[in-house]
Amino acid sequence: MNLEAKALDIRKDIIKLIYSAGCGHIGGDLSVTDILVDLYYKQMNVDPNKMDDPNRDRFVLSKGHSVEALYCVLADRGFFDKKELFDTYSKYLSKYIGHPNNKINGVEMNTGSLGHGLSVAVGMAMAGKMDKRDYRVYAVMGDGEMAEGSNWEAITAGAHYGLDNLTAFVDRNRLQISGTTEEVMTADEQEERWAAFGWNVISIPGNNIDAIDNAVELAKHTKGKPTVIIANTTKGCGVSFIENKAAWHHKVPTEAEYQQALKELDERRAQL
């Protein structure tokens, strides 16, 4: 499968979903898309029809507001009906809530309040070790989210217990709702911070699928400690006028912007 083409298709779905629902966290969805595509179309052992398989890989979207990206990937992979998602997302009585919910096939844990997912992922990785299962656990966090103190409890414990079956991503897009991460609350030197806590650290261009894939492979071969992949991404990646704009944290495109975004993504796809 051409994962780059898939990532562009998923981006188009995200834009369509947010435009039709009239809400969504578009900037963070587009920065995290390539990570999700590599995990769900290549790396992770998950089967939509076997979500009770105890050996399946686990995924926790700690930055739960990027739920549109996750839903689009899950729908495309057949975890649920894409039409139902597009018809009902965020609408009255829909099961597709604006943050991940484990009543939906494919979602392992409810998230949305930041600073929760990594602790849960640590517990999942511990359970794998206790049961001597070889599944892997992935958690994706936002860079703004790293200001939450609970994360550092989880980071400490992950290293303390040598959870080499755990891989965390930091979606380092350098923007959060109020501005740049450095203006809001310093987030630089993520690499040094995680390394000081005892994690294996890999820093990559985070919208490059080959780089993501290589990093995940390296993590799988690292023994005795968990791995964090600092994914240096572009918020809004793929759509010129959304890229690197804090205002697009959860802005909804106008009709003209919607058409323009799809046109740009189509052009990029044609160039592959």
Binding site: N110, T111, S113, H116, V122, G123, E153
Partner: protein, 309 residues
Amino acid sequence: MNKIANKQVINDVLLEESAKDKDIVVLCSDSRGSAGMKSYAEQRPEQFVEVGIAEQNLVGISAGLAACGKKPFAVSPASFLSTRSMEQAKVDVAYSNTNVKLIGISGGVSYGALGMTHHSATDIATMGSMPNMRVYLPSDRFQTEALIRSVLKDEKPAYIRIGRNAVEDVYEEGNVPFELDKATLVKDGTDVTIIACGELVGDAKAAAEELAGKGISVRVLDMYCVKPIDKDAIIKAAKETKLIVTVEEHTMYGGMGSMVAQITAANAPVKVINLTLPDAPVVTGKSREIFKYYGLDAEGIVKTVTEQL
């Protein structure tokens, strides 16, 4: 005087059951000693997780373990477990509906003179307000054992609060009436009903015995199941007795007494007096001294019933 604390019973039951069930996991937050879980930790190292002084992580990790089929018991001081990690309890346990049993130890004013930072007199309100979360305050060691054996059989979230020290037995060995989520009728009566939970059930029972000597017939309900509360038993008491007095080691708003008043008001209006800790920092003292000061002990209950009837 019984010398076995309720927490010791939890240690013993989990130690026994974990030999057969490898999915049972106990987690502590540098609290294995105060939790009475030392012998469990020593004998089941592979089913024990120390998270350090990090209650948020304690509950988050527990939820992750539960999501992978484990049966975690997170054992930590009730004060910190019910407030510091309240959001993890709300999101990772209650909302996500994970099979996590939160065991709040040294609950209420158990820590006595250590003061308000260590008291957990708001935990019924915080935990009970969360959809999916059950709240249990067992009264004595026998009921604690029955409760733990019972919740081991289900896969739903629960918060269980126990005290720090041994308390007088309410029941006796071999005679422990227990049905999950049904109040236990400790003593029947026709004039007044005292509804108590946790370690004040013993005082309610003693008060009823003293009142009997004064010719007042008192029904005592052990409402260990604060949530889901036994609505039927409350409505029945409201219809059959003239007064309800609730007794709990909790602040006055959002506790068991508030719930009783809510149910009677809607279904069978009757006078309800809530004996609680005040909506204020409590005085310094051992827990028995604090109970006496606020009229929650047998003597205080007798006084209230006599005055109100």
